[in-house]
C-alpha cells in the first residue's frame, strides 16, 4: 500500500431552502467535517439552495436555530470555491448583494482576502460538475 495522499475533487450541491427541511444544515455539517480530509472542495448553490446564503436570516418566528453565521466560517476551513447559479438567483429576484459576503485568505497571494462566491451560469456549473470526482447532492 502506498502512503500517497489521494486528492479528489468534491462538490457539494445545495438545492434546498435553509429551513423547512434539515438538508441544508446537515449538508453544512458534512462540509465542515469533510474539510479535515484536505480534498479539493467546492460548494454549489442552486434552486432554493441560494436562499441558504442570504443575509439577515431571522428564525425567531419558527423556533429553529439560525445557522447561517456558520457559512462565514467556510473560509477558515479553506473553502475557496462557492458557486452560486446565476439563473437560480435571478429567478428568485435576488442579487449578489442579498447574499452574505464570504471570503477566504489566498495563501498563494500573500494571504490576500478574496471573495469565495462566484456567480456562474447553469451551463458553467454543468461544466464544473463534469470535472468532479465526487458530487454530493443535498
Amino acid at each position: 500500500m502506498s502512503d500517497e495522499q489521494v486528492t479528489k475533487k468534491f462538490l457539494y450541491v445545495n438545492r434546498k431552502a435553509p429551513y423547512g427541511t434539515i438538508y441544508a444544515l446537515e449538508s453544512l455539517e458534512v462540509v465542515l467535517i469533510g474539510a479535515a480530509f484536505e480534498q479539493d472542495v467546492s460548494l454549489a448553490f442552486i434552486g432554493d439552495g441560494v436562499y441558504q446564503l442570504t443575509k439577515g436570516q431571522d428564525t425567531k418566528g419558527i423556533g429553529v436555530k439560525n445557522f447561517s453565521p456558520t457559512y462565514r466560517a467556510l473560509g477558515e476551513y479553506d473553502i475557496q470555491k462557492i458557486y452560486v447559479e446565476k439563473e437560480s438567483l435571478e429567478a428568485r429576484g435576488l442579487t449578489l448583494d442579498d447574499l452574505q459576503h464570504l471570503v477566504y485568505e489566498d495563501e498563494d497571494d500573500d494571504w490576500a482576502e478574496k471573495d469565495a462566491i462566484k456567480l456562474v451560469s447553469a451551463k458553467e456549473l454543468g461544466e464544473i460538475m463534469e470535472q468532479q470526482d465526487v458530487v454530493l447532492s443535498f
Binding site: 479528489k8 468534491f10 446537515e26 455539517e29 469533510g34 479535515a36 480534498q39 465526487v134 443535498f138
Partner: protein, 130 residues
C-alpha cells in the same frame, strides 16, 4: 468497480431507500464491490430493527441486514443524524444515558468522516436521495 453508496432518505417514506438497495444488489450481482453504504439525514431510519412493516410488503431493514451479512458490507449510520432521530446502538445508549438501543444487525454508528472516506476510496460514490 468499487462503489460507495449514500442513502439520504428513510424507508417506506421515499423510494431512495429501495433504489439504493436495488442498485447495491444489482452491482454485487454484476461482480462489482461495495466499499461502504452510508446512511444520512432520515436515511438513518433504515437501521432500526424495531420496524414492523405489513407482512405482504418488503421488509426494508431486514433486507439491508441480509445484504450486509451475505456480502460482508460495511453499513454505517451517521452518529450526528442518528442522535437527532433516535437511532441507538449499545454504545450510544450508554454514552447518552438512554434506556434502549434499536440498531439492526449489520449496521454500525460512526462519524461523517466515514462518508468522506468512502468518497475518497471508492471509484464512484452514488447518492440516493430526494
Amino acid at each position: 468497480m468499487e462503489f460507495g453508496i449514500l442513502v439520504n432518505e428513510g424507508p417506506y417514506q421515499h423510494q431512495a431507500a429501495d433504489s439504493a438497495y436495488l442498485f447495491a444488489k444489482a452491482a454485487l450481482e454484476k461482480g462489482h464491490k461495495i466499499y461502504r453504504i452510508f446512511f444520512y439525514h432520515d436515511g438513518v431510519n433504515n437501521g432500526t430493527r424495531l420496524t414492523t412493516p405489513p407482512q405482504d410488503d418488503r421488509n426494508i431493514v431486514e433486507r439491508w441486514s441480509q445484504l450486509a451479512e451475505e456480502h460482508d458490507i460495511d453499513m454505517v449510520i451517521c452518529v450526528a443524524a442518528a442522535q437527532r432521530r433516535g437511532i441507538v446502538d449499545p454504545e450510544e445508549m450508554k454514552r447518552n444515558g438512554k434506556d434502549a438501543d434499536n440498531i439492526a444487525p449489520g449496521f454500525r454508528i460512526s462519524g461523517l468522516g466515514q462518508l468522506i472516506e468512502a468518497g475518497i476510496k471508492a471509484d464512484r460514490l452514488v447518492v440516493f436521495g430526494d
